[in-house]
């Protein structure tokens, strides 16, 4: 329906009207279907004003204060903070589904904004945060990329993009509604999640890993497809994660936008911070490993402050630290310290096998299906 409305508007309106039509459609979705739309609108206003104040009025040199204020709503919800004068949960006042993804986009925009760069107009900013296909579970886009797409929105609505979008949409439907459903129905549901026996546990581990991929990648492909048909290029979020050969390769293939976001806005600044610390200057490997571990720990905490999420994130952090140390050792010694002179194809196959098992284990812990 969205695509039909935009196609009709394309034939009667100029390019500059695209963002207003898109804002209307996004707003309509929020008001009619979305739970707690007021909370969403308030967050848009809050973050827009705060970004303007921090970046253009007070011109904070250290962005950390702005970041903390911008992430405040998400932090209050995640920490489940309560206030005395209000008997209910603060969550009920400010939370809405997709708050984390919106907060990531808000912070990304603030971090990317150059000191003399003009503030985004409120319509584009609202569209960036509320773009319906990516509203709930991403992918996490960058404002600069979104803006380019939006400025050429009507031009992007053409038969070529429609076909690409349609193919992605069909792929997403097949992943989510056929393959994920089939995995649940004919694999996962056959095994009791409470069982402590080896076979059900192994099946739950691999089954959930495959299920999560088809389910999440399905949504992402549908978002990409619908976005493309609406004239907005949504970044790719999954590219064959089962072929990853190491942890960093895995995060370049699985939930790519989250991996990129964490690398750009958390890992790199944290690594630079550690580099500036005098005591850590002689230990580059320690700086890298500490930054890697803390990045994945944050990822675990972002899912929620539950033991299984934090352990799963820590496990991915541990994998990354081990792999990073191994890579540094290989570079130092000028040879592969683990595989030696083994055939590269065999090395690749073994690496894929190890990575599938390690990531399945971390995802299994994340799922809460295992007994801890």
């Amino acid at each position: 329906m969205y695509v039909a409305v935009l196609v009709v508007c394309k034939s009667i309106l100029q390019e500059s009207f695209y963002k207003y039509i898109l804002a209307l459609l996004n707003g309509l979705f929020l008001i009619v279907i979305y739970p707690n739309p007021i909370h969403f609108f308030l967050l848009v206003l809050y973050s827009y004003l705060l970004t303007f104040l921090c970046a253009d009025v007070f011109k904070f040199k250290k962005k950390i204060w702005g970041i903390l204020f911008l992430l405040l709503p998400m932090l209050l919800v995640k920490f489940d903070i309560r206030i005395h004068s209000y008997t209910g949960k603060l969550n009920d006042l400010i939370s809405f589904a997709g708050l984390s993804y919106a907060s990531f986009r808000i912070m990304g925009y603030y971090m990317d904004k150059a000191p003399k760069e003009k503030m985004a107009d409120i319509t584009s900013y609202f569209n960036f945060l509320s773009f319906t296909p990516t509203l709930l579970i991403g992918p996490i886009d960058k404002y600069s990329r979104f803006k380019i797409s939006q400025d050429n929105g009507f031009t992007n609505i053409n038969p070529e993009n429609f076909i690409i979008g349609w193919n992605n949409l069909v792929k997403g439907i097949a992943f989510k509604y056929i393959l994920a459903e089939a995995v649940d129905r004919y694999w996962l549901s056959k095994y009791d999640t409470q069982s402590k026996e080896f076979l059900p546990m192994v099946n739950n581990m691999y089954g959930y890993f495959v299920y999560l991929f088809f389910d999440f990648a399905g949504y992402s492909f549908m978002a990409l497809g619908i976005g493309k048909m609406m004239g907005i290029h949504v970044p790719v979020n999954f590219t064959n994660p089962f072929l990853a050969v190491n942890p960093s390769d895995f995060w370049r293939r699985f939930h790519i936008s989250l991996g990129d976001w964490l690398k750009e806005y958390f890992f790199t600044p944290l690594y630079l911070f550690f580099t500036r610390m005098k005591g850590l200057k002689p230990y580059p490997l320690l700086r890298q490993n500490a930054s890697l571990f803390l990045t994945f720990l944050l990822m675990g905490c972002w899912n929620g402050f539950r033991f299984n999420y934090i352990l799963s994130g820590s496990l991915f952090g541990l994998y990354s630290m081990i792999h990073n140390t191994y890579t540094v050792q290989c570079k130092k010694k000028g040879k592969d310290v683990f595989f030696g002179n083994m055939n590269p194809i065999a090395v690749r196959c073994i690496s894929i096998f190890i990575m599938i098992n390690l990531s399945a284990l971390a995802v299994y812990i994340f799922s809460g299906r295992c007994h801890l």
Binding site: N36, V77, N91, S95, F96, A97, G98, L99, S100, L136, I137, V170, I173, A174, K176, Y177, I178, A180, E181, A182, D184, R185, L188, S189, Y208, Y211, L212, D215, F216, Y219, G304
Partner: protein, 49 residues
């Protein structure tokens, strides 16, 4: 060139027919499955709030 188009068309027909039949098989009213028991990604996002 013509053969390539015909092959692509036939391929698409097979893919779409498979998808349509799979969807019908999984979701038709005759299917007696009680519904997906594993939490989806969207459900996960909603459950947090």
């Amino acid at each position: 060139m013509k053969t390539v188009y015909i092959k692509r068309f036939l391929m698409n027909v097979i893919v779409y027919l498979t998808i349509a039949m799979s969807l019908y098989y999984l979701y038709s009213p005759m299917s007696n499955y009680g519904g997906n028991k594993t939490s989806s990604t969207v459900k996960f996002v909603y459950q947090q709030f």
